[in-house]
């Protein structure tokens, strides 16, 4: 209790000083806590692009700071506290594992706004935000189902959590729709970013006959493995990974945080910031679909773009019934779409996927 009083008073003193400073220079300070290095070419890279976009948008009116490769747990709590002490007005914490630390630090600094990516705990000064990556997975699944010749699609999972399982289901549903013979082979890497492990996983999948490799991990190692094997297609993850286009990378899911970061920074500047829960997809532009390369036949590309358009305008939902769960029980009735609560906690495969979700 004593510490929090101490911190709060320090923050207050600093807030006053910072306020005076802000008045003098009109600067809003925005902090970013990153789980990986900004050069990872995937998840953290895109968050950093968002940070740079905030700087480009507001110029002299903002100051951004960041710390990269911050371990989840007490280290992240210290880094957030340090940013708040140094006078940050808004702090983006960009990994699921920062959830409890964000809530802890936010409680000590009621005047600082926090934005936590992909979590579910909120407070008066903590918002959450995430992207509907499964919308992009539907398009990947469609292209994968059309393009595979061996009918085996490899999938590199990171961790068996709802977000990843949702992606697998979405890709599978849409691959199956265009190719009833398709089979998914799933390898769990138990990491978000580990080029060596990801490359191994990709090689194993290719050896098992997969000629499409989807990944929910952030490095370009699977792309490199596919390029080496030849005749295997992949999709960029989190970032465009265009350096591997047109083959093996035929398209990508791009996380575009820039519009959101700019809007939230603006809200803090205008004093209109409130705690919200944002889950945006292709429509609002948080999920981007990277250029579909010429390695994809024109008709498939056209279908994929049509699918993208229908998801963007809301006329189609990737989880539309009839769908059954893996165990054969009913999931969605004809025409029914999955609600956000079900999607957020998804912990089952849909019918047709073989293998168990590891526990």
């Amino acid at each position: 209790m004593k510490l929090s009083t101490l911190l709060a008073s320090a923050a207050l003193a600093l807030g006053l000083a910072g306020g005076a400073y802000a008045d003098a220079h009109g600067k809003t300070k925005v902090g970013f806590v990153f789980v990986g290095p900004v050069g990872d070419g995937g998840w953290t890279y895109e968050h950093n692009q968002g940070r740079l976009a905030v700087e480009a948008e507001f110029g002299d009116k903002v100051e951004t700071v960041f710390v990269e490769s911050v371990a989840e747990g007490p280290d992240s709590e210290r880094v957030m506290t340090q940013m708040a002490l140094d006078g940050a007005d808004l702090i983006f914490t960009t990994s699921f594992g920062y959830m409890d630390p964000t809530i802890n630090v936010a409680a000590k600094f009621p005047d600082v706004k926090f934005e936590h990516a992909t979590g579910y705990k909120r407070a008066d000064n903590v918002s959450t935000y995430s992207a509907r990556f499964y919308e992009g997975r539907a398009i990947q699944g469609h292209i994968a189902g059309k393009m595979t010749k061996s009918n085996i699609i490899g999938y590199i999972g990171s961790f068996p959590i709802p977000e990843v399982i949702r992606g697998i289901n979405s890709a599978y549903i849409h691959a199956k729709k265009v190719n009833p013979d398709v089979e998914f082979k799933i390898v769990w890497a138990y990491t978000w970013f580990d080029p060596a492990k990801e490359a191994d996983a990709a090689k194993v999948l290719i050896e098992q006959g997969a000629d499409v490799v989807l990944q929910h991990t952030d490095s370009t190692a699977p792309q490199a493995a596919a390029q080496e094997a030849g005749n295997v297609i992949t999709f960029g993850q989190a970032s465009d990974m265009a350096q591997y286009a047109p083959m093996p990378r035929v398209s990508s899911i791009i996380d575009d945080w820039a519009p959101y970061y700019i809007a939230r920074t603006k809200a803090v500047m205008d004093g209109t910031w409130t705690s919200t829960d944002t889950w945006d997809g292709i429509g609002p532009g948080m999920v981007g679909i990277g250029e579909i390369s010429d390695a994809v036949p024109a008709d498939v590309k056209e279908e994929a773009l049509a699918l993208k358009a229908s998801i963007a305008d809301g006329s189609y939902h990737p989880f539309t019934g009839p769908l059954k769960k893996q165990d054969g029980s009913d999931f969605l009735a004809e025409g029914e779409t999955a609600d956000d609560g079900t999607l957020a906690g998804m912990n089952f495969y849909v019918e047709g996927i073989t293998g168990d979700i590891p526990n």
């Binding site: 209790m1 004593k2 510490l3 101490l6 911190l7 320090a10 902090g31 290095p37 900004v38 700071v65 960041f66 710390v67 990269e68 490769s69 911050v70 371990a71 989840e72 747990g73 007490p74 280290d75 709590e77 210290r78 880094v79 506290t81 340090q82 940013m83 002490l85 140094d86 699921f96 594992g97 409890d100 802890n104 579910y120 961790f159 068996p160 959590i161 709802p162 138990y190 957020a344 906690g345 998804m346 912990n347 590891p358 526990n359």
Partner: protein, 360 residues
């Protein structure tokens, strides 16, 4: 011409001067590195070493030093006993994980019962978890002569998989909407390793680390077993003649280092970290190896080295956010510390001679 000449006897003075020289050299060349990156070297070094101790917010960073340093010291003390005797437990990271899992599982088993007995039970089972995990390479070594370096290291990866499985399965928070990670022990009073004095950073793990330092000091200086450890490392043949039982020594050193690593993991999960998550371990078990050597395998040295390491972590993070230094530069800076230590260590056993080689 310059050449190296073996000293007739290892220089005691140099053995203690090497860490200091290494720190100075690291500051100098680290400063150069930061200058090349376009940052003011003096400000950078000051931010890393001065800011956490005496800066504006030192009231917050000083306690953080204890939180960051305690597990490093606790683990390094255990490792140093084995290292002194030539027994190489490289798998403290795995024992740290197992201690955390055992400790957290014990606490969570009682949830939501409140009792003052729960925390002591968690401490015991945390120690047991680390001990058991370290006993695997120890017993394999004693019975079958396997290499403890390889076995203990491999068991780190087994422990990591086990950790992931626990976070996703058995210990998963039932109220966590299917997301991985256990309940937060910080919100469970009986199991929370809270600060003993709020705002001081002093939790039971810090106390345990200090006790371990004293215990190791007494053991090495005064106890028969400490003598056995030292003599085995320095002169294995002499140890045999003086009746040291190598089997018991391996079991003791591996067991003790596992136990202390397990304790460190338990205090961490019940306190600063709060929950079992997939990425719970952040490399304390490996960093502690550096700490042990930086501290000359001496209890007091390890205490100082642990604080220094913690300082570079905390100062490094401050430098990243205030000065925009990349994380990789900070890691290079930390790497330099070990590099220069090893370089200067050479002069403990050798000296530089300038001049011609005399023909005998």
């Amino acid at each position: 011409m310059i050449r190296l000449e073996k000293r007739p006897q290892a220089s005691q003075a140099f053995s203690w001067a090497a860490p200091l020289l290494a720190v100075i050299a690291t500051m100098f060349f680290g400063g150069l590195l930061f200058a090349v990156l376009g940052k003011d070297p003096i400000t950078s070094i000051m931010t890393i070493f001065w800011e956490p101790l005496f800066g504006d917010f030192a009231f917050y960073y000083r306690p953080q030093l204890l939180i960051k340093g305690a597990p490093l010291v606790l683990i390094a003390i255990g490792l140093s006993l084995g290292f002194k005797a030539g027994i190489w437990n490289i798998g403290a990271e795995g024992q740290y994980i197992m201690g955390a899992i055992f400790g957290a599982a014990t606490g969570l088993a009682f949830y939501p019962t409140e009792s003052f007995l729960i925390f002591p039970l968690m401490v015991l089972s945390g120690a047991l978890g680390g001990l058991l995990w370290a006993m695997i390479p120890a017993i394999l070594k004693v019975k079958f002569g396997t290499n403890e370096i390889l076995v203990s290291l491999m068991l780190v990866y087994v422990a990591e998989q086990f950790l992931a499985s626990m976070a996703l399965g058995l210990l998963k928070n039932p109220e966590g909407f299917g997301f991985p990670g256990s309940r937060n022990l910080q919100q469970y009073a009986s199991a929370h390793n809270a600060e003993l004095i709020a705002g001081s950073g002093m939790h039971w793990g810090v106390v345990a680390a200090l006790i371990a330092v004293i215990f190791a000091y007494v053991l090495l200086a005064r106890h028969q077993l400490g003598f056995a450890i030292r003599v085995t490392g320095e002169a294995p043949r002499a140890a045999k003649f003086s009746g040291v039982n190598p089997t018991r020594l391996v079991l003791f050193c591996m067991g003790m280092s596992g136990l202390l690593a397990g304790l460190a993991g338990m205090f961490e999960v019940a306190g600063p970290a709060g929950q079992i998550t997939i990425d719970f371990n952040v490399g304390y078990g490996f960093t502690a190896i550096i700490v042990a050597f930086l501290g000359r395998l001496h209890p007091i040295g390890i205490l100082l080295a642990g604080c220094l390491m913690a300082l570079t972590y905390i100062g490094g993070d401050i430098a990243q956010s205030q000065l925009g230094l990349p994380a990789a530069a900070i890691q290079v800076f930390q790497g330099m510390l070990l590099f220069y230590l090893l370089a200067f260590d050479l002069f403990t056993n050798y000296r530089l001679r300038v001049g011609r080689t005399e023909v005998a």
